[in-house]
């Protein structure tokens, strides 16, 4: 059963990165859109993410619940040492979710209030994935010091280092990329399609740039990511596949295949996550001095894992079909109208 639980945890994290990421990305794209096109971008992204954003964010809740029920020690350790970035991420989620709802449901669309909501929405769309990435980076950075004696060592330098920040920026760029790719397929006129293609390319270049930065930062922090990733076959294959699908995506973008590129982009990001995931499996948290918290050591008692596994298994029969139907129907409706 533990494998079922681990699979769901990985699935929830990957889907949150993809769907939640695309969602944050919509705000990032808006942030980097020129003033005159902003309202058009806003309209497209509202139509695209309006019905599905709450569902997209549920993957985070699922991941957290699996963590605290199945791997409570790992959850509580992360919550303790990564308290500050988690807090900032929560503020981002709060600001973003409410600003999105407020700007669409304010009965009076006043210019001034809309401006405030928009501003909160775009900045929090940037901050949230940044800190999400920082948290993910810190979990494998070996900078979390479980025996730290000073406040700064325990609660600040656990996450404030070149590597984690580079991973954060990388996450932001990937989110923007995913969103741009998604919006290409949602746009309802040629001009917007072209605009989003340019955005997608820009975000892709940024992602490659920050990806390189992650490797450099890992050398500075003595994490030696390159050595690690290229040292095992699975991660290596995943990275190579990601690079190939990157090239294919470019070709497809240029050919104007608006919907198929989504699969390419999602695949690309999934491969990156697989490379990283495989690399530190079965450890969820890699702390200083080789103190790694393995999912096979720090899991809940057998009975809990069994019940949790069954709960997730049965739950997924309810959730997945209805989720697909949600995506499917709002896609189809759009083409009809």
């Amino acid at each position: 059963m533990i494998y079922v639980v681990i699979t769901f945890l990985f699935l929830a994290i990957v889907l949150y990165f993809l769907l939640g990421g695309a969602d944050f990305g919509a705000g990032i794209i808006e942030l980097f859109t020129s003033e005159k096109n902003k309202s058009q971008t806003r309209k497209t992204s509202y139509q695209a993410i309006g019905p599905i954003w709450e569902a997209n964010h549920m993957w985070l809740i699922i991941a957290v619940v699996i963590l605290f029920v199945g791997f409570p020690v790992i959850y509580s350790t992360m919550c303790t040492y990564l308290h500050i970035p988690l807090l900032i991420m929560l503020l981002g989620i709060t600001a973003r979710g409410t600003a999105f709802a407020f700007r669409n449901y304010d009965a009076i669309k006043g210019e001034h209030t809309q401006k405030i909501y928009n501003r909160i929405f775009v900045y929090s769309s940037f901050v949230t994935p940044l800190f999400l990435g920082i948290i993910a980076g810190s979990a494998i950075s070996r900078q979390v010091d479980l025996h730290a004696s000073s406040y700064l060592d325990a609660y600040l330098f656990s996450w404030l280092n070149y590597f984690s920040v580079a991973v954060g920026l990388f996450t932001v760029a990937l989110s923007g990329y995913l969103a741009a790719i998604y919006l290409i397929g949602e746009a309802d006129n040629e001009k917007d399609v072209r605009r989003f293609i340019i955005k997608a390319k820009a975000m892709n270049i940024l992602a490659v740039f920050f990806g390189g930065l992650v490797f450099i930062a890992s050398e500075i922090e003595h994490i030696h990511l390159a050595h690690w990733i290229f040292g095992n076959a699975v991660s290596l294959t995943a990275v190579i596949t990601a690079s190939i699908s990157l090239i294919i995506s470019w070709i497809l973008i240029n050919k104007g295949k608006r919907k198929i590129i989504r699969i390419g982009a999602a695949f690309q990001v999934m491969m990156i996550l697989l490379a990283v995931g495989y690399m530190h499996y079965p450890y969820l948290l890699m702390a200083k001095d080789g103190e790694n918290l393995s999912m096979f050591v720090y899991h809940a008692p057998e009975k809990t894992i069994t019940d949790l596994g069954w709960g997730l298994f049965i739950g997924s029969f309810i959730i997945l079909p209805s989720l697909f139907y949600l995506y499917y129907s709002f896609q189809r409706k759009k083409e009809i109208t």
């Binding site: 309006g50 019905p51 599905i52 709450e54 569902a55 964010h57 549920m58 985070l60 809740i61 699922i62 957290v64 619940v65 699996i66 605290f68 029920v69 199945g70 409570p72 020690v73 959850y75 509580s76 992360m78 919550c79 303790t80 308290h83 988690l86 807090l87 929560l90 503020l91 989620i93 709060t94 979710g97 409410t98 999105f100 709802a101 407020f102 669409n104 449901y105 304010d106 009965a107 009076i108 406040y151 325990a154 609660y155 809940a300 008692p301 009975k303 809990t304 019940d307 949790l308 709960g311 997730l312 739950g315 309810i318 959730i319 209805s322 989720l323 949600l326 129907s329 709002f330 409706k333």
Partner: protein, 435 residues
């Protein structure tokens, strides 16, 4: 403010905030489903307008409920890591099922809010019903997690170790039913009265009377029924508390010395130093009767509980008194509504009648906050009754007071924003729905 107090206050303010949105999130979909159903059945446009007006407001509440819930799932670990480390595997089952319920809710909500004129109308209606069903399911589940903290079961606590864990048994602990029942009824009465109150205000101001009357009627029928049932369910909760948490019950009642014909004290100010209640009305035997259905049998008082295991008496007692006072008032208002409905239709347009419901607008929610204060403060000093102390559970990170101030500002800002938006929606009703 010290870090421990800050952590407790932050938890309290976060939950106190979230509970308002979760009550609305459970109940409004039911109101909308009723109104929506009537529209489909009768074809009367007024019901469609009411449903749509409500759904606009609900979208705001849902977003706020969802983000405040997300904050909570992390806060449990951020503030109480030691608690979650041990409790997570035991009381996590309802949380994981709740995750499933939320998911269903979020999916159904997507269909419902954005599906007007896009789907078969019965399918669209059904998605609205699903929002309500999964909301109520998640409410029951999360309260059963909380009831485990009051009445821990499903494990053996041996020498500081948590052994033989059974999450299913923990979920169906001895208190889950009475607590969940009381909570769900509370959600209906609080939301019902609040919604009815707002519409009553509009009727009194003679604005869109037909529209607001329709909305008022749907909301108040649920509110009134729930308000009449509430004291009975509360009685069940109190009996349960007497059994599982005698210290909580004694603190609620500010009842210091164990005695036969145990008295119930109404009102008054507890003097914890002198161990008595000043200015209260004491009714001998009533507490014994309420707890054991027997006027004579003594109820355990605070003198049977070591001081270090006693909850704060004054807060618990006042919170309880507020809940009871409001509960009685709301029950009375509910009965008046039914009298009007069955015998005195003319009351509906009377000033005093509308005023009664306008004044009742916030009452249910005040009672909800008071009730949770009773439950949570009355459990102190325990985070898991009899097993783990709250002070053992708190995070080692210093500086929590700053995070408490920060969250206080955020919740205040959000509250102001939500009220602002809601008032704008009410203002827009004439233009949007009354042509």
């Amino acid at each position: 403010m010290n870090d421990f107090l800050a952590a407790r206050s932050q938890m309290a303010i976060s939950l106190g905030f979230h509970i308002i949105y979760s009550c609305i999130g459970m109940v409004m979909p039911v109101f909308m489903a009723v109104s929506h159903y009537k529209w489909i059945k009768t074809g009367d446009d007024i019901y469609k307008k009411v449903t749509q007006a409500w759904s606009k407001g609900v979208a705001i509440f849902f977003a706020t409920g969802a983000v405040s819930g997300t904050i909570l799932s992390f806060e449990l670990g951020l503030l109480w890591p030691k608690f979650m480390e041990h409790a997570g595997p035991i009381f996590g089952m309802p949380f994981s099922l709740e995750g499933v319920a939320f998911f269903v809710e979020a999916i159904a909500l997507g269909f419902f809010l954005y599906g007007w004129n896009k789907f078969n109308k019965w399918f669209h209606w059904l998605t609205g019903v699903m929002v309500g069903v999964s909301g109520i399911a998640s409410g029951i589940l999360v309260v059963s997690a909380n009831s485990w903290m009051n009445d821990p079961s499903g494990f053996d606590f041996v020498n500081g170790q948590y052994l033989n864990i059974d999450p299913i048994q923990a979920m169906f602990n001895g208190s889950w039913f009475s607590e969940s029942l009381h909570m769900i009824i509370a959600a209906f009465s609080a939301t019902g009265f609040a919604v009815a109150g707002v519409h009553a205000l509009m009727i009194a101001r003679k604005k869109n009377v037909k529209f607001h009357m329709t909305a008022f009627r749907i909301a108040i029928i649920f509110g009134a029924i729930a308000a009449i049932l509430q004291p009975f369910s509360g009685d069940l909760s109190a009996k349960n508390a007497a059994k599982k948490q005698p210290a909580k019950l004694a603190a609620m009642e500010a009842y210091f010395y164990t005695q036969p014909y145990s008295p119930l004290t109404i009102g008054g100010i507890p003097d914890t130093a002198a161990k008595k209640v000043n200015y209260g009305i004491e009714i001998p035997g009533l507490l014994s009767f309420l707890v054991y259905d027997d006027f004579q049998k003594p109820v355990k008082a605070l003198d049977t509980i070591p001081v270090k295991d006693q909850p704060p008496i004054t807060v618990t007692h006042f919170a309880f008194e507020i809940m009871i006072a409001i509960g009685s008032a709301m029950m009375l208002a509910g009965i008046i509504y039914f009298i009007a409905l069955w015998k005195k239709r003319t009351w509906f347009s009377r000033k005093w009648f509308l005023k009664l419901f306008i004044l009742s607008t916030p009452l249910g929610f005040i009672a909800v906050e008071a009730g949770w204060t009773v439950t949570e403060v009355g459990r102190q000093p325990w985070i898991i009754q009899g097993v783990m102390r709250t002070s053992e559970a708190v995070t080692p990170m210093p500086g929590i007071s700053y995070s408490f101030y920060l969250f206080t500002v955020i919740y205040l800002t959000l509250s102001v924003a939500v009220i602002f938006l809601l008032s704008r929606q009410i203002k827009m009703v004439p233009e949007m729905y009354d042509r």
